[in-house]
């Protein structure tokens, strides 16, 4: 079993990846890039799963990673559909235009 230290490093990397993704969602205004940062966050979780799986030497980690990746893809598919509609409606993909619903 890989001793705890290496697992910690893996999780720190996953954590950094996760925060970068989150920052990406916060900073970027273009919907496509927001979707990309969402993917980054999901894959960070996937990486964490793999690290956890290897820590315990069980295949669940990697199976979970596969599930994460597939479901991430489903999410992004619908996301891109919505981006298309957004572009057709506002002919730009800037999400800051979407601020009619407030109060």
């Amino acid at each position: 079993m890989i001793d705890a230290v290496i697992i910690d490093h893996a999780f720190i990397l996953a954590g950094i990846l996760f925060c970068l993704g989150l920052a990406g969602v916060l900073v970027r205004r273009n919907l496509v890039f927001v979707l990309i940062s969402l993917e980054v966050m999901l894959n960070a979780a996937g990486l964490a799963f793999i690290a956890a799986g290897s820590a315990w030497g069980q295949p669940e980690g990697q199976i979970m990673f596969l599930a994460v990746v597939t479901l991430g893809a489903a999410e992004v598919a619908v996301g891109l559909g919505l981006t298309l509609l957004l572009f057709r409606r506002f002919n730009s993909v800037d999400i800051d235009q979407l601020n009619q619903l407030k109060g």
Binding site: F18, A45, L82, L98
Partner: protein
């Protein structure tokens, strides 16, 4: 997966089957009435199967899903809600020039996601269930994009829900990964199973917190509620109805199973965070709804407040330790049923009226001026829904609130109870404001309305049914209580 286990999964299979049949049906003939009919019949069949299989004992289908009475009862509830959502969507869709049939496929998929979530006692199936539910909701929220002038707010709602839900799912996942790293197993009773923990306690704490954060987003507890008003206002009325009741009930059911599975030594560290969220939800939910001018936005904040009320019972459940036989879990169950009924009734009436004139949905509450005199029966049903939400006796709302308070009193949660009382006192104002508007003698001419909408009788039946059920549960709650007790006993 032998035959018995397959048969045990029958309700889920039927719901999945419905979505497939619909896809095939649409490929051949695009007929709105037929699609709606098939969906309703399919969902009804699924509901009936899950109801009469109650009492068949616990069957673990693959390590992921478990079909015990708890799942059957709450799946029946979940499917019933989606049945109501599809039923009320028919009149709504008839009035819009949108392509109508796809809505029912998404609805069936969402129902399937909910049932998987309820049936899951493994994090993988939980994750699949939540994702299936959320992704189909993305599409449903942004469904009316082609329709008339209000389409850009629907699009806005869809995008917002998609992004926020994506972020929360990743939080959820990361939490699950950390828990898995710490506990080494992926079933939800990881707290009870003392695997050889090699990593520090920190993993467990951060993991569970991120799990709760992911779920908190789905249940729109306050710090994570920002999306609720915008998405509720943006989404079409039947979808908001489903979102408000269906999505939340499924996640809450999973939470109960998670709490019971984690046994007595649950993590007390959650209490501080949850209590703060509960207090904030109750106060902010009611405060923000006070001067709302749009009915859907008002109902959004009221749902935030009601989730806050349910958290009181949740916290009481956490504190009691062994959860099954005490009042708190029952309180959550009964409140779920009551809350679902009332919200569906409110949204059914709203979508029926929106079919007459879209202003009812998007416009100001003043639109409802004098409704009692134009549509007496619709106004009375809305009246009953709002009295229920206030917690007026002889409605399901009161039984729910009474149960919550009893659970709170049971565990001496005095601060939470005081906030509950203050919150519902505040809540009185905006519910009454709507009721008052309906009774107001509107001098100016009545808003331009289509003549009676298509198949108004069809949705009228649903509305009257829901209204009578709200009153029935309020007047004679024993059957609902017995059901919930039955469900909890089998956990």
């Amino acid at each position: 997966m032998d035959l018995i286990q397959l048969l045990a999964l029958m309700p889920l299979l039927i719901v999945g089957g419905v979505s497939i049949v619909l896809m095939l049906l649409i490929a051949f003939v695009r007929n709105h009435a037929l699609t709606c009919f098939v969906t309703c019949i399919g969902l009804l069949a699924a509901m009936l199967t899950s109801i009469n299989t109650i009492g068949d004992g616990i069957i673990q289908v693959t390590p992921l899903l478990v079909m015990d009475d708890f799942t059957r009862v709450f799946c029946a509830l979940m499917i019933g809600i989606s049945l109501a959502a599809s039923w009320m969507a028919y009149t709504y869709m008839e009035a819009s020039d949108e392509i109508r049939e796809e809505y029912y496929i998404l609805l069936a998929l969402a129902a399937l996601g909910g049932c998987v979530l309820i049936a899951s006692n493994h994090f993988a199936s939980m994750f699949i269930g939540i994702e299936l539910l959320s992704v189909s909701l993305f599409a449903m929220v942004g469904y009316m994009v082609h329709g008339g002038k209000s389409s850009d707010i629907t699009l806005e709602g869809g995008v917002k829900y998609m992004i926020m839900s994506g972020v929360s799912s990743s939080f959820l996942l990361f939490g699950v990964a950390l828990i898995y790293a710490y506990a080494g197993i992926l079933t939800i009773d990881f707290l009870a199973a003392p695997a050889g923990a090699t990593l520090s306690q920190g993993y467990l704490i951060v993991g569970t917190s991120m799990l709760i954060i992911g779920l908190a987003f789905k249940l729109s507890w306050v710090p994570f509620h920002m999306w609720t008003p915008d998405v509720y206002q943006g989404a079409p009325a039947p979808v908001t109805g489903f979102l408000a009741s269906g999505a939340k009930i499924a996640v809450f059911a999973f939470l109960i199973r998670f709490l019971i599975a984690s046994g007595p030594d649950r993590i007390d560290l959650l209490l501080a965070g949850l209590t703060i969220m509960a207090v904030l939800s109750m106060l902010l939910g009611n405060l923000m709804a006070l001067l709302q001018s749009n009915l859907k936005r008002l109902l959004a904040y009221s749902s935030v407040a009601h989730m806050g009320y349910m958290m009181v019972a949740l916290i009481a459940a956490i504190k009691t330790g062994n959860i099954s036989e005490d009042v708190a879990a029952e309180a959550i169950g009964v409140y779920m049923v009551a809350y679902a009924l009332m919200t569906l009734l409110a949204f059914a009436v709203l979508s029926r009226l929106a079919a007459l004139n879209s202003e009812y949905e998007t416009g100001n509450i003043e639109m409802y001026g004098g409704l009692l005199y134009r549509h007496p029966w619709m106004a009375t049903c809305m009246f009953v829904a709002f009295l229920g939400l206030i917690g007026m006796p002889l409605t399901a709302g009161f039984i729910g609130k009474y149960y919550l308070m009893l659970a709170g009193v049971d565990q001496q949660l005095w601060t939470l109870l005081w906030v509950l009382v203050a919150g519902s006192a505040l809540g009185l104002y905006y519910y009454l404001k709507v009721i008052l508007v309906m009774c107001k003698e509107s001098q100016d001419d009545a808003p331009a309305e289509l003549e009676t909408p298509v198949a108004s009788g069809f949705s009228g039946v649903l509305i009257s049914g829901l209204c009578l059920m709200v009153l029935y549960v309020g007047i004679y709650p024993t059957p609902v209580i017995d059901w919930i007790q039955l469900a909890l006993a089998s956990l």
